[in-house]
Amino acid sequence: MSNAQIEIQLIASLVAIACAIPGTFLVLRKMAMISDAISHSILPGIVVGFFITHDLGSPILILLATLAGVVTVVLVEYIQKTGLVKEDTAIGLVFPALFSIGVILIKKNADDIHLDVDAVLLGELAYAPFDRLLVSGVDLGPKSLWIVGAILMITIILLFAFFKELKLSTFDKGLAASLGFSPVIIHYGLMTVSSITTVGAFDAVGAILVVALMIAPAATAYLLTTDLKKMLFLSIVFGVFSAISGYWFAHWLDASIAGSITTMLGVLFLLVYLFAPNKGVIAVLYREKQQRTEVSLLTFLLHLKNHDEERERHVNHLNEHINWQKVRSKTVLELALKNNMIIIDNNIVSLTSKGDEFTTQAIDYIITNEDAQIEDMKDDFFLFRG
């Protein structure tokens, strides 16, 4: 590994961490699309800043672009407050307009500005190590490493300083407000940090990757845990993992690093989306199927309890009267048998004492409108689940 390669991976990892922290809160606060809006609408700020300074790394440019990001948030909120359109429409109206202004500014001044819209959207991490920070002739490393590092430091300090406030206002706005934490200040603080992170990172990795690095690791982590600290930790791990593996994938493919990191994030999310233990799609589908069978079982047991006639309790009756398919009735019967709820004698089904007890309790819960309790009851009675 050459020096430049290490530096690229370092920058990518730092960006990933710096994005994962505000990203987690954005996802939890249902404001993920705001980060997309910010990442687009910082463009006019960048262009104007570049006009003035002619340097992509200058603090004035970062300040102006951050301002553009905050202006977006304010505008979106203002439009929402008028009640003329819904929140999401407001977002969708503001950022394309600002982005268009940026694109037109660039195109109109193409001779003065050596700024490519592609570069703003996509960044080029591969060139980041070439732009070095020189202080009185001493090479201190790549400029973007310093910028991203500084932003990360600020983010971490703010996170530790205001963790309690952030947590409270994220999960219970009303309580936070009544305890005297101003939700408005925390909201705009978070928005400002998101803007700064977006601006600081776009130079290295591009605006779109910033969005991906903010939302994807947090969303992936959210599928695995509901603990805020664990979620923060996991999203940082996912971010850094994608950054490093993405770099090598791009290296192997000889393609855009930003695109490749995003792809790694996508693969990671897809895996977790499918296979997460409790909230993954497969687990959810399995649970839904299980619950369907168990509901059928309950219906069947209730039916048995209601009828003493042999005709109503005959196995074939299941197919004929309750209109179940063969497979379905077979699964239900087997499940009931395995759990010792019923005995089948000469194709006549009758409840065991355990089955009777279960059914009686279930009826109690149903008539007292406490259906939810049945879920807990199942744990006591079922040896095997559906």
Partner: protein, 375 residues
Amino acid sequence: MDIQEYFSLVFSDYTLRTITLGTAILGAVTGMLGSFAVLRKQSLLGDAISHAALPGIAISFLITGAKDSNTLLLGALVSGLIGTFWIRGIITKTHLKSDTALGLILSLFFGFGMLLLTFIQKQPNANQAGLDKYLFGQAATLVESDVWMMAIVTGICLFVLLLFWKEFKILLFDKDYAKTLGFNTKTIDILITSFIVLAIVLGLQTVGVVLMSAMLLAPAAAARQWTNSLATMVFLAALFGAFSGVFGTAISASQNNLSTGPVIVLVAAVFVFISFIFSPSRGLLFKQIRFIKNRRDLQLHKTLAFMYNIAETHDDISHPHEIKILNNFQGFTKGTLKKLVEKNYVTLQGSTWSLTNEGFKSASNLYNQLTKNDE
């Protein structure tokens, strides 16, 4: 070329005519379908879909190796649909919220698309140049066959829209009711979403991935301000969209170095801006005027009520009182007094005022809602 020249050339010049027609049709169809997206609170879906279309374009180029816009758009359509249904899957099957799902799919698909695009650029195939026009769109590359394609799709959209108008409408405003009536809401839902995806994909070549969502939203958001009727809104949105297309093309053609996509978006944004402010029933301007008028009415009523309370204590209701005693009362100004005199509720004599019979009557009925025409 200035704008006048543009309009004289638009009917004779092939390129200009094609582009203008193309953007106009595009604006109309996106405006039309955008109305549904906006009303279904799926405004940002367009943004996600347009970004999600990018890998489709790259993959269909990788497979066919051809740059025929129809095949590329077919790829875009497929990947846009995959993106849309994945978003839906995330929202229904997990506890992630819609904004997260949208942002996720948007950025992941776009990043993957960029990976493929940069990968294609490194390929030893001279044909690959120009794929990046789908990023920001290049209306100038429109040819007549593209416009025909747009016209046909618009025609189909219009046909389906008219055919299923009732179903779309009921799904839009009362989904549960539609279900109880026996409509297959899932099919209608998929149908309308697919058409939205189709409209977005059509616009990629002209406006580009990044700005396409605004084409969908802006005309619809503008149209929403002028009417409460769905039919009128769809019609107005189509109109606004078409005009944004034409004006945008005109402005960008009349200047150097102006790309068409962003200008169209800005023109559409101007439409929205004007609608937000000047729409008679919802607009901010008239709302403010109504607000001020209401406040003035209230002040007038308060003054009258105060006078009534004073006059009530006297046997003669027209007993004159000093104006000075009103001064401490909040809401009293010379203006309100003058207005009351104009209405003949109060007469002035030197520095005193007295309530007239008429004024006394309307004041006593002030809170009985009998004086509706009172101003």
